[in-house]
């Protein structure tokens, strides 16, 4: 049973992660705040309560794997990695600069990142490969994969979805950040995904739908996924793009635009 104080702790942590995302993007002058903020609660809960990992030993063979398939939201990944101790928080201010360990999209030069991403649609396949390795080596680590809603328009995702079910990869838990927006507008207008849950179900997945900003629901979904046998799980998390900063919420422009200095100040005030 999750205690109230643990939930509070995670919520505070998520707020801190959001602050880091805003600061890092403002400093970089480019990047993707909207989808980083919508998935913050999910990935904060994952890294600080669910994932079996050790920042002092990033290559620990038995660690759980996390892969961010929607690679453009790496500011979120970098913030949780820094907060977890994989590297100094000061590194965050080098985001997107020449020679930085924090590239514009995920790259292996970042401690804690195993496989590059950024070209959408490939991450669930990468996760499947990791899950097969666990089975071959008879290890019980789990594999988590964050997908974007626009991203699942890629055909590769559905090749992977079919294969994860075929190989009975019950050590995989995908997380769909369903914030409803992509670069060109509303997902339902650009290329409708509905019925999303029915699609994953039809592909043979254990499918859960939650409020992606409710820590209790997030933790219980991760917990439920661990108990599922013989099939992969997906958490369809209904989220708000730009969550936590009112003037960014559900504003498509902030998919791929960094906040200005003034906007960042305003955002950080909200996140105090």
């Amino acid at each position: 049973m999750v205690e109230e104080k643990d939930i509070k702790h995670l919520e505070e942590k998520a707020k801190q992660i959001r602050r880091l995302i805003i600061e890092m993007l403002a400093k970089a002058g480019s990047g993707h705040p909207g989808g980083s903020l919508s998935a913050t609660d999910l990935i904060t809960a994952l890294y600080f309560s669910v994932l079996k990992h050790n920042s002092k030993d990033p290559k620990w063979p038995d660690r759980d794997r996390f892969h961010m398939s929607k690679g453009h939201c790496c500011p979120l990944w970098y913030a949780v990695l820094a907060e977890s101790g994989y590297f100094s928080v000061d590194e965050l201010w080098t985001l997107r600069q020449l020679g930085s360990i924090l590239q514009g999209h995920p790259d292996r030069r970042t401690p804690g990142i195993d496989v590059a991403s950024g070209s959408l649609g490939q991450g669930l396949s990468v996760s499947l490969g990791m899950s097969l390795a666990a089975k071959l080596d008879k290890k019980d680590y789990r594999v988590y994969c964050l997908l974007g809603d626009g991203e699942i328009q890629e055909g590769n995702v559905w090749e992977a979805a079919m294969a994860c079910a075929h190989f009975k990869s019950d050590n995989i838990c995908a997380i769909l950040d369903y914030n409803g927006f992509q670069i060109d507008g509303k997902v339902c207008e650009v290329m409708n995904l509905e019925p999303v849950a029915a699609k994953w179900k039809a592909f043979g997945w254990h499918t859960m739908e939650i409020d992606g900003h409710n820590m209790k629901e997030i933790l219980s979904a991760f917990d439920e996924a661990k108990k599922v046998k013989g099939k992969p799980s997906i958490i369809i998390a209904h989220t708000v793009k730009g969550k936590g900063v009112t003037f960014m919420e559900n504003v498509c422009d902030f998919h791929g635009r960094a906040p200005t200095k003034d906007e960042a100040e305003k955002a950080l005030k909200e996140l105090e």
Binding site: A116, S119, S125, V126, L128, G129, A133, A134
Partner: protein
């Protein structure tokens, strides 16, 4: 008469041999295991073989994930699908992350024969060569296929090994395979023929005929396209009067382009290229097609004569 072997038979057997010694070898295929001969491995080690169905993109990215956990993953399908269909996955997952994913693509080139243009990969080397850090080997025959497959295991990173469909005669007296080191098969100071894959045999046949006319040809088998053996190529450029390059591939972005770059930058000599020139393939028997696309020993002889004329 030289021994005739399917490169893919040799590949399949080599996988089994390697699989026995190395438990970390895993093999992927996309519904072509009978043709690529990964079926040999599947039979012997079913727990380490995964069939991805007709879904090459998923297969390539999954290979990266598996290799990131310490496995060496051999991934096979036809060259047109490995290099073409799944190019983005090969670039952004396989090569960019740089784990031990060894792509062994079969049915490359015009010699695929009757299946026609859609199945004849004539641009796969170019596609792979455009990707940074992708190691590329084009073995010339059966035994060299085995050597290449064994060699790639000990070299970290992504590989693309290109095999053909038909049986090919074994090239004699070429020496031991060394990754990145071209093989000078015949000595000669008049003209150099640089070839890879099945064109090595055609080159040797041409050289033999030319010798009868007193033209001494140096035949070099450039089995490793990347990293290219610049030294051996430049030595030939210095010591002979011209170079004929032959490949069963478009002349853009493959062996011909690479050799020309090295020669043009360092020691320009006359170069003629035999390869596919701005055409798709078509149905026909392999020998008919090699003739149609000017890739026979006769065409090579003519090119050599032109170079020294």
């Amino acid at each position: 008469m030289a021994e005739m072997l399917y490169q893919r038979d040799v590949y399949g057997k080599a996988l089994v041999e390697l699989g026995k010694k190395n438990k970390d070898i895993v093999v992927f295929d996309a519904d072509l295991s009978g043709s690529t001969r990964t079926s040999f491995f599947a039979k012997e080690f079913p727990e380490r073989f995964f069939n991805f169905g007709v879904a090459e993109q998923n297969m390539m990215a999954a290979a990266t994930g598996l290799a990131s956990c310490g496995k060496t993953v051999f991934v096979s399908t036809f060259a047109i699908f490995a290099a073409g269909r799944a190019w983005d996955q090969v670039r952004n997952s396989v090569a960019y992350s740089g784990y031990n994913v060894k792509i062994v693509a079969t049915h490359a080139g015009i010699s695929v024969g009757p299946d026609g243009a859609s199945h004849q990969a004539l641009e796969d080397i170019a596609l792979m060569q455009a990707i940074p850090k992708m190691n590329i080997i084009v073995p010339c025959d059966g035994p060299q296929t085995r050597e290449a497959v064994i060699a790639c295991i000990d070299i970290k990173g992504a590989f693309y090994i290109r095999l053909g469909r038909p049986k090919v005669p074994t090239v004699e007296n070429k020496g031991k395979f060394e990754f990145g080191k071209a093989q000078v098969i015949t000595k000669g100071d008049d003209v150099t023929i640089i070839a890879c894959g099945i064109m090595v045999n055609e080159a040797l046949a041409a050289a033999e005929n030319l010798a009868k006319n007193g033209i001494k040809v140096r035949v070099i088998n450039v089995h490793t396209i990347r990293p290219l053996d610049n030294d051996t190529i430049l030595k030939a450029a210095c010591e002979t009067r011209g170079i004929v390059i032959c490949e069963e591939h478009t002349v853009i972005g493959g062996l011909a382009s690479s050799v020309q770059e090295v020669v043009a930058e360092n020691n320009p000599v006359k170069v003629l290229c035999l390869g596919i020139k701005n055409r798709f393939g078509q149905s026909g028997s392999p020998s008919e097609l090699l003739k149609e696309y000017n890739l026979t020993s006769f065409d090579i002889e003519e090119a050599v004569k032109k170079v020294i004329s």
